[in-house]
Symmetry: C2
Subunit: 347 residues, 2 copies
Amino acid sequence: MQQRKGDPFGTHRVIEPEGVLPQPAWRLDSVSPLYANECLIDVERLNIDSASFVQIKEACEHDDAKVKEMIMKIISDRGKMHNPVTGSGGMLIGKVSQIGVEFPASDLQVGDQVATLVSLTLTPLLVEEIQHVNMNNGQISIKGKAILFASCPFAILPDDLPESVSLAALDVCGAPAQVARLVKPSDTVVVLGAGGKSGLLSLAVAWQAAGEQGKVIAIESNPAACEVIRELGIAHEVQSVNAKQPLAVKEMVEGLTDGGLADITVNCVNVPDTELSSILATRDGGTVYYFSTAVKFTAAALGAEGAGKDVQMMIGNGYAPGHADLTLQLLRDHPALKDIFYQRYQA
Amino acid sequence: MQQRKGDPFGTHRVIEPEGVLPQPAWRLDSVSPLYANECLIDVERLNIDSASFVQIKEACEHDDAKVKEMIMKIISDRGKMHNPVTGSGGMLIGKVSQIGVEFPASDLQVGDQVATLVSLTLTPLLVEEIQHVNMNNGQISIKGKAILFASCPFAILPDDLPESVSLAALDVCGAPAQVARLVKPSDTVVVLGAGGKSGLLSLAVAWQAAGEQGKVIAIESNPAACEVIRELGIAHEVQSVNAKQPLAVKEMVEGLTDGGLADITVNCVNVPDTELSSILATRDGGTVYYFSTAVKFTAAALGAEGAGKDVQMMIGNGYAPGHADLTLQLLRDHPALKDIFYQRYQA
């Protein structure tokens, strides 16, 4: 039997609205048989995006049975794990169960353990059962099927790291890869939300890239997470400030930089309303890199205008060539950072 | 009587929630007397942001009495013209009626005709009466009072252009100023939503900056607006394509660039769901500059990741030093473009 070939971007799986791509679509078809240029995955684990998981836990009053139910409902309503409130998703790992004859990945084999490097918001997903929800780290064990389109990056999981650790790191691998491009020697870098995984990976890269003449400032609301950063030794300054308080953040950064502010501010905070803190922490002519999916476009655009701040503001792109390898190598190069990932994410 | 001094960013006028800046605030105090570092304006005209005005008109079924009512309700609920659906505002013009003794603008005088260069989403506004709504261009004649904070840029209106024309151009003056910084000689530039005012101003700048070896491609859904662009002679290619159809946009740009795509794509579309069109129109390593406030952060971030596109994505900053002068000068330098602004916006 001849298999049909689908669109490389997956538009053939969009149910509604018509004519859009899978990411903005309300609902995807996760049921139809595999197309010739797709790959089918037996899903083992979802890693829910941090902004999304925080929102779901709060809506469910931290009751894990309700969290299971809400996640199941989102997936069955939309054919994908696309949180309608935060607009964000996450990623998954599983075993390759079927490879379409025209799927563009010559080295991939049935049975390979892979992580998808595209958001769950555009990945067709069918769930039979949610086995376990880890309420601490947002990793969900499930039994289900997912589909990879021809344009979607993925990574074969390495043998030297536990799956759950690779998954946690790869979920945010765009952040360290983009920070590596942005930070130049001698730069002053502020990382907001520095204690989460994207924050820690960004710090590690900034510490290396800014070099001996640079200054890396970690801002993190949770004092215990601040202690972790201090022990890792990947920041010159570690301060416990709430990133939702722009004036407090601005004053702190002013104080630590003799009024010079940051050349580059990386926003990794997983709660809303931190756009202005990022803007006010940054010098005129500097760059704000928004990695958090809790960021609102208009709050950033109008906030900078309203404060009369001439800063470049960038939307975090989860894709950059080589981002998966760079991120996994970062863990191997920083044993203490790797230990933190083991503590938090090893299943 | 000694006047109190307020925060330069205006936090003293925030009613709820506490501790945030005026832009993200739900409600501002537009009633309390002037602080020593504020300036009071007798407002004559609001220029509603295009994304906001389109949304309001649709919600009101294009009935101008309902539009009046809805705008009045937003302003009285929030103490500012901050559309809760689109999150955007616009700007205003009026006459300076009172200048606080510590307001930082030595050359400003009572009676000066000014335009605020910050969004209405952070400008305390009290409206007595809405006199007229121009359903075509979103300019609203009102009687009311607005407050300028110490950090807020503004422009004294020039004598050689009608107020309504200056207002329309200054409302989007961030766009041409940022495009002027981004576009280099020989660049291929795509402007989406090229027929609106920010699109036309961006085209005019790109045409100049890309030079003889460059290529400027205007994409605009409205065929009549395409004709206007052709007559202005500020684009090498003008195509009528719906920016909500990413694959159609991608194919069009591929065809016009021998598959090379754009170095820089400027998004000026005033409707949602055009993030992916911008991404797919742009080459790997290129830049997407999102000026439209209808853009959703997560749709852009996750869309680029999902398509595996290595593009820089920038959030339009409405402020850049000299942006007002650059924009008004652009009109003076392009008489035909100035004529279009007269036709559309002269009161």
